[in-house]
Amino acid sequence: MLRHLDLLNVFLALRFKQPGYPDCLSRLGYLVHSIGVTILLGDGTRLAPDVVAQAHNLTLLTEVKGGKELEGDQLARMNRVTPADLREFAYLPIHDVSVHVVHVLYVCNEESREALTAGIGVRRATVAGFDGKRFRLSGTPLPDAALARCLEEARVNEMASPLTIVPFDDKSPEEEVAAFVVPEIIAGLVAGAGTFGPADILASTHGVVHQLTQSTGSGSERPALLKRVKTTLERLATAELAEWIERVPKQPTYRFKQDLALDPARRTRDLQRLRAATARYLGSQQQPGTPVQLPLLFGAGEAEDDPDRKPDLE
C-alpha cells in the first residue's frame, strides 16, 4: 500500500517524461495549476483538492486517497464547483465557461478502489486505482476518453520511481524530512548565507508547491509542513549539527556558527564531516520497517579524498 505522499507523486509524475514511467498528463497537454492549494468559493465553501490539472475544456479536481474512506462532504463540495467558480476564485484560465467541464478524480491504491467506488455511489467521480504497475479506473467515466485510455494502457517499469515533486508531508518519518532539509542547510553554508529560517528551507524543498501557493492562494498543508521543518531544525541544531548551526535567540531563524574552511583540502574534510554527521542523524531516526533505506556512506575513518588512491588526471 502506497502512502498519500507516494500516490500524490505518482499522479504528478504523469505530468513529466521519465524513463519507465507513463506521461499521460504531459502527452495530452494537461497543465498542473495547483498542488494542495485551498480554494475559497464565493459562498464560503472551502475545498483543497490535492492537484488541479487542466487541459482543453476539462479541469480535473484530483484527490489522492491513501485509505479507503471518503472524507465527509468533500465529494459533494467538489461536485458543486462550476467552471465560473474556478475562473473567479481559483484564477484558472478558463475562457468559455459554457463548454468547460469540471470533474472529480480520486487516485488511490488499487486495494481501495472498489471501496471508494462504492462510497461514491451514483455521484460524479472517477476512481483510479494504482497497484504499483498500472492504473485501473472505475466509477463515472473520465470525460477525456484519451486520458482514460492512456491511464488504462500505461505500465510502470518496476525499476522506475516517480519524481519527488512533493518530497515529504506532515506524516513523513523524521529521516525523510531531514534528508531534504539538511541539503538546504549545506547549500546555505556553501553559498555563504548568514541566517536562514524554516520558511526558507520549505520554499526550497517544496519549491513547486510553494510557488503555486504564492500565485493562487493559501496552501492548506503549509503550516503543518512548516512545523515539521522547525522541529527538524531544532533537533539538528541541538544534536548532530550543533557544531555548525544555532538558533538565533528569540528569533525563528538559525545562523551558521562557522564557515567552511577556505583551504580546499580542509573544506573537503569539513563537508565530509557534515556528511558523516547527517548520516548519523538519519540513521538514528530510522524506524524499523520504514521504506527509506539507510544512507550509503563510507565507513568511519576511511579517507574519501585520498589523491594517491584515486588519481584525477585533471
Binding site: 504528478l12 505530468r15 513529466f16 517524461k17 521519465q18 524513463p19 504531459s26 497543465l31 498542473v32 495549476h33 498542488i35 484564477y91 484560465p93 525499476m159 520511481s161 519524481l163 519527488t164 515533486i165 518530497p167 534528508a179 531534504f180 539538511v182 541539503p183 538546504e184 549545506i186 547549500a187 546555505g188 556553501v190 553559498a191 555563504g192 526550497s204 519549491g207 513547486v208 510557488q211 503555486l212 500565485s215 493562487t216 580546499p264 573537503t268 563537508l271 565530509q272 557534515l274 556528511r275 547527517t278 538519519l282 527509506v292 533505506q293 539507510l294 544512507p295 550509503l296 556512506l297 563510507f298 574519501e304 579524498d305 588512491r309 584515486k310 588519481p311 584525477d312 588526471l313 585533471e314
Partner: protein, 347 residues
C-alpha cells in the same frame, strides 16, 4: 601517422612552457547579467583573491593585477567571462584555480567533449592535435582487476587529426573511453603571414592560443560561449522544474549511459562524497536494488538537485532557478569517468 607540430612562429619548446602563448580561461559567472552586477561581483572577487582590479578602458573589460601577474577579464558576454593572460601556464593555472574556487557564483565553462570534437569543423578550422583522457578509477573499487579501458591518456599529432579520431572511435580500440580532453586547431587564413590563430581548447574551459590574430581568437571564443550559453540556458529554461504562468513547468533531465563500473553502489557513494571530480555533497539512499537517489548540493554554486541513478539512466530534477552549469559539469564528469558515450536523452 605523421607528427605535425604547429609552425606559427614559436620556437620549439617555448610552446610547451607556455611562455609565448596567450591563455584564456572561460568562466561562468552566475548572476552577472547586468553591468552593475558585474561590477559588484568583480569588486567582491578582487577582495577575495587579493587582486587589484580596475577598468581597462573598454566597456566590460577589467584588469586584475597581483604582483607581476596580470589578467584581462572581458565580461562583455553576459554571464560568461573571458580571462586572458600571458603568464606562464603553471602560474596562470594556479591563479585561475584560486579565482574560480573563491566564490560559489563562479564556475568553469565545461566544454562538452562531443562539442570539442566537432569544434574545428564547426568553425571551418583544421584539427592538428587531440588528446583523450578517460579515468574510471575514481569511481571504481581499486581492489578489482582493471580492464583495457579503465584509464586512457593519449595525445596525438596527425596530418588529419579529425579523421584519425573518427577512425579510433570506430575501431572501438577503447570501448566507451574515447573522451576528448582537448583539441588543437588552426583557424583563419591559410597563408603563413595571414590572419590566423592556433588554439587548443580544453574541456575545462582553458584555451592556449598563438598566431597572428587575436580577433580571430576572440571570434571563436564568442561563438563557443554563445553555443555554451544556449546549452546551459536550454537546461534551465526548458527543463528547470518550477512554476511559470501559474502552472508547473519543466521536465526531468534524462542522461542515458551504461555504467562501465562494476559496483554501481560504490560509484554512487563516490559521486556524492564532496570531493573531486564531481564536487557534489549528498547522502544517497538505495531505493531498491540498482536504483539510488540523492538530494545533492552542487559545491560550486550551492544549488540543490535530486539525482535518480539506475544502471541505464541518471534522472536529474533541476529546480527552476538552479544553475544549469551543474548539469553540464555532471555529464562531462560521467563522460570522463564512466562512459565517454553518455549523453542527454532529453536535450
Amino acid at each position: 601517422m605523421a607528427a605535425s607540430r604547429g609552425g606559427w612562429g614559436m620556437p620549439e619548446g617555448d610552446e610547451d612552457l607556455g611562455r609565448t602563448m596567450v591563455k584564456t580561461y572561460l568562466i561562468e559567472a552566475h548572476g552577472t547579467d547586468s553591468d552593475d552586477a558585474t561590477l559588484a561581483r568583480m569588486g567582491d572577487l578582487g577582495r577575495k583573491v587579493g587582486f587589484d582590479f580596475s577598468a581597462a578602458g573598454e566597456p566590460g573589460l577589467f584588469r586584475l593585477k597581483k604582483d607581476n601577474l596580470i589578467f584581462w577579464c572581458d565580461t562583455s558576454t553576459p554571464r560568461f567571462w573571458r580571462l586572458h593572460t600571458t603568464a606562464i601556464v603553471s602560474v596562470a593555472d594556479a591563479a585561475h584555480d584560486a579565482i574560480v574556487s573563491s566564490a560559489p557564483w563562479l564556475d568553469r565553462v565545461w566544454v562538452p567533449p562531443p562539442y570539442l570534437e566537432s569544434l574545428a569543423d564547426t568553425v571551418g578550422g583544421q584539427m592538428l592535435t587531440f588528446s583523450l583522457s578517460h579515468n574510471r578509477r575514481p569511481l571504481s573499487d581499486s581492489d578489482r582487476p582493471v580492464t583495457e579501458s579503465d584509464f586512457v591518456t593519449l595525445r596525438l599529432w596527425a596530418s588529419n587529426a579529425s579523421q584519425t579520431l573518427r577512425k579510433l572511435r570506430k575501431a572501438d580500440v577503447f570501448p566507451h573511453a574515447v573522451s576528448v580532453r582537448s583539441v588543437k586547431f588552426r583557424s583563419g587564413a591559410d597563408e603563413p603571414d595571414g590572419e590566423f590563430c592556433v588554439a587548443e581548447y580544453f574541456h575545462n574551459g582553458k584555451i592556449t592560443v598563438g598566431g597572428t590574430s587575436f580577433d580571430e581568437h576572440n571570434r571563436l571564443l564568442v561563438k563557443v560561449l554563445k553555443d555554451y550559453g544556449d546549452l546551459v540556458r536550454g537546461f534551465e529554461d526548458q527543463y528547470g522544474i518550477g512554476v511559470a504562468g501559474g502552472a508547473v513547468v519543466g521536465q526531468p533531465i534524462v542522461l542515458d549511459l551504461n555504467w562501465t563500473v562494476r559496483d554501481l553502489e560504490y560509484a554512487v557513494q563516490r559521486i556524492f562524497a564532496s570531493s573531486e571530480p564531481f564536487r557534489l555533497w549528498g547522502i544517497p539512499t538505495r531505493v531498491r536494488d540498482g536504483h539510488y537517489r540523492a538530494r545533492a548540493v552542487d559545491l560550486h554554486v550551492g544549488g540543490v538537485l535530486t539525482f535518480d541513478i539506475t544502471r541505464e539512466h541518471v534522472v536529474i530534477q533541476l529546480p527552476r532557478g538552479v544553475c544549469g552549469n551543474t548539469v553540464v559539469r555532471f555529464l562531462n564528469n560521467l563522460q570522463f569517468h564512466v562512459n565517454a558515450d553518455a549523453h542527454t536523452a532529453t536535450a
